[in-house]
């Protein structure tokens, strides 16, 4: 039977992923927790999840949506609102008499609630908007993301959302570290936990993509007319993809809240959506592993590797010209232009890691013969 594929590439990929997790855990115990590596890893894991969720829409279903920042905002706020310790609420909601919500839920429950809230918003927005195609859909979702942002900043909702003031004091990644009685950290988990959350979510998305429903979504992407003629209900399947994608964007938003330790609606601008879109394009539209790899590269470049461009650099007595605050973004834009011009299909195209490995193995097998 030629349809059975070798399982080896899949096993190698899983082993690689496991190795990454072990490496993250070990590195966290060895290196100082202020190291730049961990900033990149935490934010990278967050962006990886959001990028994969966007890829589910843009890459696998062919729906060009730009609402991701809006759904992240919903997730971040829901997470913040329901996890701020009751004792802290008076100071966080100081302009709104301590706020309306006076209870907390466990972090895991809050994460799920963040996703569900985002999915609910997506459902409502999807009803009118998903009838639109391509650019029109993009503009409409972009508009809705802005509306969500405006609503969350509205003072009338202050007792719940704290208006335009920031939410803070909720559990963040550092609270996952295990401490002894004196408050010294014994086991560092602040990077491993975001990796685990993102990993589980991405695994769920991959399972969906490879199920019968995932195949139907790809059919919708390839040819809507033929998909409909094969009995696939377009409205239902698009709505499904939109809600699931937004669910994980919401969880990603909650992770971003944990990473930033504060949440403020004004930071969830459309620029954030474009960052995610860039990650998806650089990684390869329609490739989960591409999105994951490129989100770490993107975050590493923007937060770490290209930072030196923003400072004065001396080589001997020679001062390197052009380097000043803001120059990093110029270089960054040039890199992106190069990628878009010359590597249009991104790092991975629409292939996944196991696909590439199996091709490599086949080549080797042929050479050995």
């Amino acid at each position: 039977m030629n349809q059975k594929k070798s399982k080896l590439p899949m096993i190698i990929t899983l082993a690689l992923v496991a190795a990454v997790y072990v490496a993250v855990f070990v590195a966290e115990q060895m290196l100082p927790s202020t190291s730049m590596v961990f900033t990149v890893l935490k934010k990278g894991a967050t962006y990886a999840l959001v990028a994969v969720s966007m890829n589910l829409l843009n890459g696998f279903t062919g729906i060009f949506s730009l609402g991701q920042a809006g759904f992240m905002l919903v997730g971040a706020y829901v997470y913040g609102i329901f996890t701020i310790p009751v004792a802290q609420r008076a100071s966080v909601y100081q302009y709104f008499d301590g706020g309306l919500v006076q209870f907390t839920v466990p972090v895991v429950v809050a994460l799920v609630m963040a996703g569900l809230a985002a999915a609910f918003f997506a459902y409502l927005i999807g009803l009118p908007v998903l009838r639109l195609k391509s650019d029109y859909l993009a503009i409409a979702t972009l508009g809705f993301a802005e509306i969500i942002r405006a609503i969350f900043q509205w003072n009338g909702l202050g007792p719940i959302t704290n208006g335009s003031n920031m939410l803070r004091a909720f559990p963040n990644f550092n609270d996952f570290n295990i401490r002894d009685a004196e408050g010294n950290v014994t086991v560092y988990l602040s990077t491993l936990i975001p990796f685990l959350i993102a990993g589980v979510c991405i695994l769920l998305i991959v399972l969906l993509i490879n199920s019968s429903y995932g195949r139907a979504l790809k059919a919708v992407r390839d040819d809507e007319v033929a998909a409909e003629a094969m009995g696939i209900n377009l409205a239902h399947h698009k709505q499904l993809a939109f809600c699931i994608s937004s669910f994980f964007a919401g969880v990603g938003g909650a992770m971003l809240a944990m990473y930033q330790t504060t949440v403020q609606a004004k930071s969830f601008t459309s620029a954030m959506t474009y960052e995610i879109l860039l990650i998806v394009v650089i990684g390869g539209i329609g490739s989960v592993s591409g999105s994951v790899i490129s989100s770490f590269l993107f975050v590493a470049c923007s937060e770490w590797w290209l930072r030196f461009l923003d400072e004065k650099q001396m080589i001997g007595d020679f001062e390197v010209p052009l380097l000043r605050t803001g120059f990093r973004m110029v270089v960054f834009s040039v890199i992106i232009m190069i990628v878009v011009l010359f590597f249009r299909r991104g790092i991975m195209g629409d292939k996944e890691l196991p696909d590439l490995l199996s091709r490599r193995l086949e080549k080797k097998g042929r050479a050995a013969k």
Binding site: Q3, L208, R215, V225, E228, A229, M230, G231, I232, L234
Partner: protein, 286 residues
């Protein structure tokens, strides 16, 4: 006319008119396809054949008339609103007091009408096997959660086996893992038929299945259509330009010209019909 089926009819079009703006693409078309028949719809280019298919499969909403499938209406309409004034077809007031009825194409496929396309519409990024597998999705009983968590193992396995079986029947088992668009043209046509069969249809609509095929391939296709018709207990309604194929395998033929039906009958009758010869076969191009 009565809405009761005589038990034998699979598809019936009653006074179907399709008008786009001021253009009447089909005018007052009535036809019937009976159980187990192979019926061909022929006519010169632009006669409205594919438009008729699109009215049956729900891609278009007919401007006027009723489509019955196994005696049940699947599309009902009469000129409304602006169309009332602009209507250029016949029998415009016949169904004025019937409630319009529209199903989306996926609902109609669920009921048991499957189709292929004139310009092949396979899922480009998928393999031949996946193309067929996707078409089994509509009968899938699991929801997205049970499917994602692989709680539908049995169903998934059955879907895969069915798809592989269909590929074997159409002779594409060898190419199962090849990208659908990398297959040669004739095989793509067969794959489209396999994909349509995967939706478990009772009526198969073939839109120019032999387009672009050489005479030998066309002959093979004719045999193939008869074979799958018998094997799956199908009724076949097809649009075709290859007269050899049409005359060989069809039980009856409808002829369309400029949106109007100009003839109906067995292949022998159609071949002798002077109206058809004048409109279609007898046109001297030199």
């Amino acid at each position: 006319m009565s809405e009761k089926a005589n038990g034998n009819e699979v598809l019936k079009l009653e006074n179907i008119t399709m008008q786009f703006g001021g253009v009447v693409a089909i005018n007052n078309l009535s036809l019937q396809v009976n159980q187990g028949e192979i019926v061909a719809l022929i006519g010169p280019n632009g006669a409205g054949k594919t438009t008729a298919f699109n009215c049956i499969t729900g891609v278009y909403e007919p401007t006027n008339g009723i489509v019955y499938f196994h005696g049940k209406p699947i599309a009902v309409n009469h000129p409304q609103g602006k169309m009332k004034k602009a209507y250029g077809g016949e029998n415009g007031s016949l169904y004025a007091n019937r409630k319009p009825l529209v199903y989306t194409p996926d609902r109609i496929t669920h009921m048991g009408i499957a189709r292929t396309f004139q310009n092949i519409r396979l899922f480009k990024s998928q393999t031949a096997f996946e193309n067929v597998l996707i078409a089994t999705h509509l009968r899938c009983k699991s929801n997205f959660l049970t499917a994602s968590f692989r709680l539908n193992m049995h169903e998934e396995k059955a879907m895969r086996e069915k798809s592989m079986k269909l590929l074997e029947i159409v002779g594409l088992a060898e190419e199962a893992n090849e990208l659908a668009t990398s297959l040669p043209y004739g095989k793509q046509r067969r794959l489209e038929i396999a994909r349509a069969l995967a939706t478990d249809p009772t009526l198969l609509l073939l839109d120019e299945p032999a387009a672009g095929m050489n005479p030998q391939e066309t002959d093979e296709l004719g045999e193939f259509i008869v074979e799958i018709k018998n094997r799956f207990n199908l009724t076949v309604f097809m649009i075709e330009h290859h007269m050899n194929l049409v005359m060989d395998i069809s039980d009856r033929i409808y002829v369309l010209d400029f949106g109007k039906q100009i003839a109906e009958g067995t292949p022998e009758e159609i071949q002798k019909n002077p109206v058809v010869i004048a409109a279609y076969l007898g046109v001297d191009e030199e």
